[in-house]
Subunit: 335 residues, 2 copies
C-alpha cells in the first residue's frame, strides 16, 4: 500500500465513525451498535478486514487530490458515498436472503429483518447528513451540487436493484438487459465517487465528465470481471470451478450470453437446484459456447474505456499516480 | 374545505407526480407503478381518498404563506416531506407485517418484501431529490438548510422506529419511555414541516422555533388522541370498544400507564392473544385505573402547548386563519 493510502484510510475510518456517532445516545445505543457491527468495528468477528476496502471513499479523495485540491475537505463526501454503499448492502442482504457478509452474520440475520431495514435506512440518512457537511469547506452551491449527484446516483441504485430482482423471474433476457442493471447496481456509485471528487477538486465540466466516465467504466469492468470469477473462479479454464454463481442462479453476463444462445447451456441451466459438481460441467459448456471469451472481451473493452477516460481527465501529482495504480490493480492489469 | 386548501391540494398532487415521474422510464415502468400504487394514484382501489390527507405538505405551504411568503416556491419541500412520510409508511408496513393500508393491500404484500424495501428506498431518494429542487426558488444555503432539517428529522424517524420495535420485547417500560418514541415516530416530521415552512417563509430564528414547536406538540397531541381512540374508540367510555390496539399488543401511552401501575390491567395485558371481547373488558379496567384521564390530560397539555406555540409564531393572512382552523380540527377542538 502506498504512503498516501496509508494516510487516507485511518482518516476515512475516523470520519465514518464521527458520522455514525450521531446515533450514539443512551436510548439508541443498541441501534448505534447495529451500525458499528455492520461497519466492521464492533462485536464478534470484527477485524481490520471486516470493514471492506473503502474503495469508494478512496476514489473520491484521490480524484479531489489529483485535481490538485485539498483532499481533506472532500472527507464528508467520501464518508457519504461509503455510507450510501453500506445502506445498499444492508438492504441487499435482506432482499437476497444472505446470511453472511465478509464472513460474519448479516445485520438482518442477527437482529431480524425489521431491524435490518431500519439499520439500512439509518445508514442512508447519515449518508445524506454527511454530504451536507461539505458546507463546512465549500460554497453552498457546490455542496448542493454534490448532494444532487449522490441522490441521482441512489435513484440509479434502486433502479438497478429493481432490474436485478425482476430478472430473477423473467425469461428471454439477453446481454442487452445486463448493462442497465449493472450500470445502476455497481457502476453508478463508482461514477458518483469520481464525479464528486472532480467537482470538489474544482475541475471544469469536461474534466468532471472524464472522471465520471472513468468511474462508470471502472465499475462495469470490475463487475464483468467479478462475473467471470463467479463462474470460472480464479483458476479460469482449468476445469476446477470454485465459483458459486451458477449454483446461486445469478443472471450474470456470461449466463445471459449463454441463455440467449439457446444451445446446450440454456437447456441445462436452472435458477435453482444446480449442485457444485454440475456447475463445473455447466461452466465448461458455457465457455465452449463462447461466453468466457465474450465476457473477457467485454471486460477488456470497459477497462480500455476506463483507462482512456482517466488519461483524458489527466490526474496530477502523487494522488494521480496512486489513482492510476489503483485502477490498474482493480482492473487486474500491470502498469 | 376552505378555498385555499382546494387550491393547494391538486398542486401538491401534481408536484408529487412530477417528482415520482423520475422513475417513469421504459425499463423501470413496473417499479414506477409500485410507487404510484402506493401513493394512491393507480391500480385497484385507487380513489381520491386512498392518497392520504397530505397533512404534511399542507402544513409546509400554509406556514410559508402565513409568513407572508409565496407558498408555491415551497412546493418542492412540501413534496419532500410527504415522500419521506410515505417512505416510512412503506417500510413500516413490512416491519409491522401489515397487510392493508388505507383499505388496500400494502406494497410488500402485493410485490413481496424485497420489492417493498426497494420501493421505500426509492421514495426516500426522491424525497431527497425533491428538497434540493428548492434551489430553483431559494439561495443555495436556504435549500441546504431545509435539506439538513429534513435529514435530521429522518434520523429521528429511524430512532423512533428503533424504540418502537425494541419496546415490543421489553418489559418494565413506563410512560417516560413513550415520549422519545413518539417524538421520533410522529412529532419529528410534523415539526420539520412547520420548521421548513417558516424557514422558507423567511421567518427569523425565534419564529422558526415557535413554528417548529407548534408542529412538534401538534404531533404529540395527535398521537396521544390516536392512542385513546385506539383503545376506547370514538364512543369513549360507553363500554363498546371498536378499537384494536389492545388486540394488537401496541404499547401506547394508556397501556404503558397501565403496565407501570402493576395492578389489574398489568396482570391481564398480554402482547398477543387478546380477543376483541376481552379487549373491551380490559379497556374498562384500564380506564378505571386512571389511564383514560391520564391520556386525556396529556393530550390536552400537548394541545395547549401547540396552540400557544402557534400563537407565538403569529401566523398572518388567510393562510394563518386556515392554519389555526386546521390545528383546531386536528386537535378536535372548536374555535
Amino acid at each position: 500500500m502506498t504512503d498516501l493510502l496509508k494516510t487516507l484510510l485511518p482518516i476515512i475510518e475516523a470520519e465514518l465513525q464521527h458520522q455514525i456517532a450521531r446515533l450514539d445516545q443512551p436510548r439508541t445505543r443498541p441501534f448505534y451498535e447495529m451500525l458499528t457491527y455492520h461497519m466492521g468495528w464492533s462485536r464478534e468477528g470484527s477485524r481490520p478486514d471486516t470493514t471492506g476496502k473503502r474503495i469508494r471513499p478512496i476514489l473520491v479523495l484521490l480524484v479531489t487530490s489529483a485535481c490538485q485540491s485539498e483532499w481533506l475537505c472532500a472527507m464528508p463526501a467520501a464518508a457519504a458515498v461509503e455510507l450510501a454503499h453500506n445502506f445498499s448492502l444492508v438492504h441487499d442482504d435482506i432482499q437476497d436472503n444472505s446470511d453472511k457478509r465478509r464472513g460474519r452474520l448479516t445485520v438482518w440475520k442477527k437482529w431480524g429483518a425489521p431491524m435490518g431495514i431500519n439499520v439500512g435506512d439509518a445508514l442512508f440518512v447519515i449518508s445524506n447528513q454527511a454530504i451536507t457537511d461539505l458546507e463546512k469547506y465549500y460554497p453552498s452551491e457546490i455542496a448542493l451540487r454534490a448532494a444532487r449527484v449522490l441522490h441521482d446516483t441512489c435513484l440509479d441504485l434502486t433502479c438497478g436493484q429493481f432490474l436485478d430482482m425482476s430478472y430473477e423471474k423473467r425469461t428471454g433476457l439477453t446481454v442487452e438487459d445486463y448493462w442497465p442493471m449493472v450500470s445502476g447496481k455497481t457502476a453508478a456509485l463508482l461514477a458518483a465517487c469520481t464525479h464528486i471528487g472532480a467537482l470538489l477538486g474544482g475541475a471544469n465540466e469536461e474534466k468532471q465528465e472524464a472522471y465520471r466516465l472513468f468511474g462508470h467504466h471502472l465499475g462495469l469492468a470490475f463487475q464483468v470481471q467479478d462475473d467471470i470469477l463467479g463462474i470460472w473462479g480464479d483458476e479460469a479454464m482449468t476445469g476446477k470451478s470454485v465459483a458459486s454463481d451458477l449454483v446461486e442462479g445469478k443472471k450474470s453476463l456470461p449466463v445471459l450470453f449463454g441463455l440467449s444462445k439457446q444451445a446446450q447451456f440454456a437447456a441445462h441451466w436452472r435458477p435453482t437446484g444446480i449442485t457444485s459438481a454440475q456447475s463445473s460441467q455447466l461452466a465448461a459448456i458455457l465457455a465452449a459456447e463462447g461466453a468466457y471469451d465474450y465476457a473477457q472481451n467485454a471486460a477488456r473493452e470497459e477497462t480500455d474505456k476506463a483507462l482512456e477516460s482517466l488519461k483524458k481527465a489527466g490526474p496530477l501529482g502523487e494522488a494521480g499516480d496512486v489513482l492510476l495504480a489503483l485502477a490498474n490493480q482493480l482492473l487486474k492489469r500491470q502498469q
